[in-house]
Structure formats: C-alpha cells, structure tokens
Symmetry: C2
Subunit: 336 residues, 2 copies
DNA sequence: TTGTATGCGTTATCAT
DNA sequence: ATGATAACGCATACAA
C-alpha cells in the first residue's frame, strides 16, 4: 500500500532520482515532466518518507523547544504558552514543526545538545528562564541555531519585552498622579525579567529624584498569588506608612498583592494603586480590573520565529542580538 | 566528531551489529561485553542517530498531538493545555516525546493520517473538539493508535470528565439551597462537552420533577466572556423573573455571566447564584470567587497517556473505551 | 556469542 | 534532461 519514490518512478517510467529532484531537489528537470510528476504525486497523495529524508539530507524541518525542566511549569504558563503558540503558528507557515526537547531518549539521559544532534533539529527556541544551566550553555555555544524569548547570553539571539519601558511608563503614571510612596513586588530575582524590572524601577525613581527605599520593596519567594501576598505583607509590616502605589512585576503577583492589601483594610485603588505586568487574559476580569503593562506575546513569538528561520537560512549577519518589543500601559480600575 | 555505531565498533574491536544489539536490540550478547560496551558508550556519550533508527525500525517513540486547526486556540486554552502538560510529563517518563501534527510538510498539504505515516509516529493524542472532521475520521479509523481527551467516536478510546456527574452535583446543590428558577448558559453546542452538560442539566431537572424551560437556557455564540455575557442578556430579556441560579458550562462563560448579571443590577450570589465548570486557575481569584466544577486535568492527561501507551504496546483488549474521570463541586463565593 | 550482509527510502554525484 | 549508483546510519536475519 505504502509507496516509495521507487514505486512512483516505476509507475511513471522515470528514475527515482528524477522524482526526488522534482519533489525537493534543485536539480535540472524539464518543465514538462516536472508538471506531470507533480500532478500525479498530488493525485495519489504521495509524500516522501520523513526519516529517510532526514537521514540523507541532514535537515529535518523540525525545531526543538526547550521549556523549563520544572514539571507543570510550562504549557500552563500564560505568558510563555502564548508566545509559543504564536511562534508555532509562524514557523508552521514555513513548513517547520515543533517538538519539545526532552533530556532523554528511552532509558538514556542526554544533554539538550546531544538530543538536538541525534534528532537533527534545525534550530531551537529556548523558552524559559528557569533552566538547567550547563545544559543550556552547551547548547547555546554550539553550532545549532538558537533563539530565546527570555534569557540573554552572549552568542544568543533574544526577543523580549522592553521591560524598562514598561516599568518607566507605570512609575511615570503613578508619579504624575501625585502618588508618593511607591512600592514594588518582584518575583524571584533569579529570573532576568524580574531583575531588569527592578533595575528599571530604581532607575525611574532616580529620574524623578526619588530614592529607592528597601522597605518598600519585596522579592517574592514564588511566582504566583502566594508570592505576591506574602511579599506585600512584608512591605506592610516593614513600613509605618502604607505605600500609595505598588508595582507588581507580574499579573499573578498582582492578584496576591491586591488581596493582601484588601485584607489589611486598604482599598484598591482608593488607598493604593496597583499595576501588574503582562496583561494576562484574565487581568481585565479581575475586580478591580487590573491596570497592567501589556506584553505583545504575538510580536515576541513571531519575531523569535523570524529570527530563528533567518539564522537557519544563513542570514546571520543582519540579525540584531537582542530585540526589545515595545509594551504599553493599560489603565483599568486598579489605579486612580 | 560525530560517531556512528561503526566507529564505536571499531574502537571496541567489535562489529557494528553487536553494538546495535546491545544498544537497543534483543539479540544475544554476553554479559561481559554488554557491560563493557554500555560503559564505554556512556563514557563517550554516544547516542544512535534517530532518523536512521526510525527508518529501519519503523518506530519513532514520538507521539503526535492534534490540536484544533483554529489558530490561537490551542496552547493558550487553560483546560487543554493543562491536560496536555500532564500527558507530556507522563509519556516522557516512558521515553516518548510529543510533536504537534500539522497538516502540511513544506509546501505540501496532507491529511493527519498521511502525516502520521510519513513521520511514523507511534500514536496520536487528539486534543480538541473543534476539528476538521474528515481528517479526524480517517485518522481514527486507521491502524494508528489514538486516544482523545474530548471527542467520543466508535473505535476511539477517550478520557473525559464525568460531565454528567458535575452538572448533577451543581444542580443538586442549587435545589438543596432552595433555589427555584434554574438557568443554564452553554458554549456552542458543536462541542461534545457542552452537549453532554446540557443533557445532564435537563436530566437532573427531571430527576427533581422540574421542567426544563427554554427561556432559561441560552447557547452562547462563542466560548469566552462575550459569549457568556450575551447569552445571559438573552435569558434576562426572555424571562419575566430573573433566574435565581445560572449554571455556566465553563469558567470563561461564567465570568461573562456574572458581569452581565451585575450590569443588570443583580447581585451575585445574593440575587443569583452562579456555578462555572472547570476550575481554571483563576477561578478562585475572581470576585466573587467562582464556585465551579473541578475537572481533574492531571488525571485526564495521565489516563490518556497510559491508555495510549497501552494500545501502542498491544494491550488493546483490557482498555475501556471511554473513561470518565470524576469531578467535584467546589463551593466558593458565587453561590449562596 | 559474535560477525556479515542486506535493506530501510531517500538524496546527491556522476554518467549518459 | 534523465538515469544509475553510492552513501546516510542503523537493525536484523543469517552465517560463522
């Protein structure tokens, strides 16, 4: 039942080589037979076997995705899964498919790089900040094309949100509204994004001639609701006067921040304004609807995809190392 | 740099065949050389090339995922992405990896089945209800192992939530609370889940000797917030007395339902109780915190994974066709 | 127990 | 422009 190019060749009184050229190669074939074969092939629905092609051609048209090693932190992450979705949509338009890199084959454990070699993936997207470092370093320094949507490293092309711009917009807004005691709640500072946001927070304060006060800052011990809640509690405990504004460095944190504020009798936004970061799809449905920094996941995913395909296709020179995608401030109800 | 089993064989004064047997085959090799080779192979980090193996062995250890054709509806879906995450975690423990099925290779469009054949995937997970029908039917009726987490069809093994149980629990709760005018808002009835939930809703009403009233039911024209909002508006318009209870057949719908209710001066839960379905990770953070039916995404993903691997490994007989995973009612603040 | 030879289905080189 | 032929790297039936 299953045909090979040999069968097709026989059926068309041609040689396998000619069929192959027509299907994928760049060889010289007359226009007439090319069309004839293409038509027939379409008719019978023939497609050349993938593994044989990959074996011979050393190109797979598959892109590896490295996600966090932490189980359950991956596809469910609102930001990264959205970026990945857009990445996927883009590359599929160019005939690429995506597969998740795992660090083993059967019983055998292997490094990301090894896996990529064995699978002959054409490139990788590194989606995540929380990673097995040596594994990643080895991969990034190898010859296989790589793009990241979170980390920045030498030799690594990266597409990320313009975190500095987002923080500056938020802080500017607060200050323009006359808010004085500005606090910030960050996720764990092991992640690049949070580090940059914190730096931008300090910088923007400085721009306005305001000092950064340690007691109005707290680094959450985890990413989500609880992290935000506990970090806020700490700020409240450490300062005589409650903040008038809290910049939560993610929307998830913001939920915890707001809850903690309210549990302590502070009204949002009447007593304290809060701004999140990301604009998750549920941010607008919270009560109060969350003011936040919108991250353009589509632009990030697509820019990363474009860059990766460019590198794969050899246009390495024209590519800027780290591209920052603009963000924008969305004011809803959690700010005055 | 890159070694083949030939290289390894030479380096160990053995034949390629022996190396191959040791690595994956079931051939007879002495314990001594087996250990020796295994040790060496581990030392140099040798892994046999994947495409050659697949070509020869006709088994790939990759599982295809068919997601909806609708762009942007996929990885971002809270329910399905969670199920997929757990599925992925499970199969990876058994040496399988997952790849998204696309309906083309390069320029060439092909059916799901064709794609699976060409890629030699060992099995597929069908995650979705909104699908290209003929494509799916062809796939399901083929000889390639398939499991679904949404659709039910002849010849298809399926793992889903016990929708009937969930609806019954919710309705029972409302009736026990003395609520009388029970309404329901469903997503588009093109989806199995919504159809079953509606049937269960009618059935449970019947169980309590209550009639199903058309004016207290509305089928949303879309899945999300807007769908829920507009459907609720319709119910309000079509009935003299507002419902005392609305069963939203998904959490996303529930958000729209609640908003619409409130926009019409109805307080939740004082005037009307609302129950959602799924227990998305943000359900608990809404205001009021959403009462809902918890779906066990982990159990679903893992059961689907286990079944698929069982089928692949030939244990076809012992497998029940459709497995329903228990759900549970979670009462929070949106119900009295 | 180990080695040899052939085939898996392509692609690519070199003739024709 | 087309055809023959040799890899690609592994698995396996068979021989030793």
């Amino acid at each position: 039942m299953k045909r090979t190019i040999y069968d097709v060749a026989k059926e068309m009184n041609l040689s396998p080589g000619t069929i192959s050229k027509i299907l994928h190669g760049n060889g010289n074939v007359s226009q007439a037979t090319r069309e004839r074969v293409l038509k027939y092939v379409k008719e019978i629905g023939f497609v050349a076997d993938s593994s044989a092609r990959i074996l011979k051609a050393k190109k797979s048209f598959v892109l590896g995705i490295v996600f966090s090693d932490i189980a359950h932190f991956g596809l469910e992450h609102p930001f990264f899964s959205s970026v990945l979705q857009h990445f996927k949509n883009y590359v599929e338009r160019y005939g690429y498919e995506i597969v998740f890199i795992v660090n083993r084959i059967g019983e055998l454990e292997l490094s990301y790089l090894k896996w990529c070699k064995v699978k002959k993936v054409d490139g990788v997207l590194i989606v995540t900040g929380n990673i097995n470092k040596p594994n990643i370093i080895e991969l990034v320094n190898s010859d296989i094309p790589a793009v990241s949507v979170d980390m920045v490293m030498d030799n690594l092309v990266t597409v990320i949100s313009d975190d500095g711009m987002g923080i500056e917009q938020g802080v500017d807004y607060a200050i323009n509204k006359g808010l004085k005691r500005l606090a910030a709640v960050s996720g764990p500072l092991t992640s690049r994004a949070y580090i940059e946001r914190l730096e931008a927070f300090k910088w923007t304060l400085g721009k306005h001639g305001m000092p950064f006060q340690e007691n109005y800052f707290s680094e959450a011990e985890s990413y989500g609701f609880n992290g935000g809640y506990n970090a806020t509690k700490k700020i409240l405990e450490n300062s005589e006067a409650a903040p008038e504004f809290v910049f939560a460095f993610s929307d998830e944190l913001a939920i915890g921040v707001i809850k903690c504020l309210e549990d302590n009798g502070l009204r949002v936004p009447l007593d304290v304004s809060v701004i999140g970061f990301d604009d998750n799809y549920f941010a607008k449905h919270l009560t109060p609807a969350l003011s936040t920094i919108y991250q353009d996941k589509q632009a990030i995913g697509e820019a990363a995809a474009k860059k990766l395909l460019d590198i794969i296709e050899g246009k390495k020179e024209e590519i800027v190392k780290v591209e920052k995608i603009p963000v924008s401030l969305i004011i809803r109800e959690s700010t005055i």
